[in-house]
Symmetry: C2
Subunit: 202 residues, 2 copies
DNA sequence: GCCATAATATATCTGTTAGATATATAGTCC
DNA sequence: GGACTATATATCTAACAGATATATTATGGC
């Protein structure tokens, strides 16, 4: 199994977030999905369709293994209506994760539908473009609210100062991106008002 | 065939860029791929694997059709070593494109590997996080250079003022995003220096 | 003129992913 | 006890990333 995957056709990325979350403690597939949604969901999406098969593969490869920890009965009975299958990281898994973390990251492949619609907007009237810009503002503001809430919960989530710093770094990124998007949208609406009366239909 | 696809599982997005490019004039599959790469590549990726099957489907649906324009012999002979199969938009295709453009856009699904590595960086030493931040700066600067070049070529590309405005809007977006990324990276490296001496390995 | 090479252009392949659907297990309530 | 509901596991299928394969044509050398 090769550590470097930079030359390959798109390869499985799901396993890294699984490994990263298991590095913080034993978890089931469902736990991983919840952890992704609750802490990294705003910059990394992941679904059951990827998590379960990836965990199965990771187990087959010896990077994670079923956990011998007792299935907790839970203080709150209503949090567990079905027995969990817990997994933990193996030493090999830990090494694998760290090696991947140290490699350069692969830049995202862009596919921004908002910009695609803006790009072709000269075909339509200015009201439609305005609606797209307004949508962009609303989304930026909604994202900023989510990030603010996450930031406020940070201290309780991560007592470790280093982990907190890096988590906060991701939040800060999201906030800057949201701000840039909102500014851009406002700028463009202003420019639209000043220059474009009613773009002619081709 | 339904115009609104907002409630569906991910549906084919390739066809919209195909339709949009054909709205500017007849083109072959290869022409579409080149046009995507040259004018929208920085915010919309598209490969042959999607373009050809989508064009085939669009033709089957009557939204595009083979073009009766004479296969141009080209002024420059070396630009055509194989006969092109040109397609053009049908009136139905044009209506379909315009209806889609007027709908709210679907927000991007995020999957930012840089942030994922940053998120788990407390496991490693600070030099590795610094390398990721430096990579982010270099990428932002490279993107800004590409966008600057595109901006300079704009006047020659699009004589129509409306089309030019919207194209420039997409470029402006990319520039703001690149700037935000660079600022963030510098900020985080600064914070790393001041707070984190050597993050402990867990 | 023939053949090899190279460039343009068309087409397909396969692993990953988005997001939906299906199923299993257990607790609660009437 | 059975219906309902919540947690948890698992699978499905269309879309996509990016690679590979193939077809067609022009060019150059002998």
């Amino acid at each position: 199994m090769t550590i470097s995957e930079s030359g390959d056709r798109r390869s499985n990325r799901t396993r890294y977030i699984v490994l990263g979350i298991l590095a913080r403690g034993p978890a089931s597939g469902y736990d991983v999905a919840c952890a992704v949604r609750d802490s990294t969901g705003y910059f990394w999406s992941e679904g059951f369709g990827q998590i379960y098969p990836s965990m199965k593969q990771l187990a087959a490869e010896g990077l994670i293994r079923p956990c011998n920890a007792p299935v907790q009965p839970n203080g709150k009975a209503k949090e567990s209506r079905r027995r969990k299958t817990l997994f933990e990281l193996t030493p090999e898994g830990e090494k694998f994760l760290d090696a991947w973390l140290a490699e350069p990251y692969q830049p995202a492949v862009e596919r921004n539908e908002m910009l695609l619609k803006i790009f072709f907007s000269a075909r339509l009237n200015a009201d439609i473009a305005t609606r797209h810009f307004m949508q962009a503002i609303q989304e930026a503001q909604a994202a900023a609210r989510v990030l603010t809430t996450l930031e406020e919960e940070l201290v309780a989530r991560l007592p470790d100062p280093a982990a907190r710093f890096f988590y906060e770094a991701t939040i800060r990124y999201g906030q800057k991106a949201a701000q840039a998007q909102e500014e851009w949208s406002r700028e463009m609406m202003q420019g639209l008002k000043g220059v474009i009366k009613s773009p002619k239909r081709q």
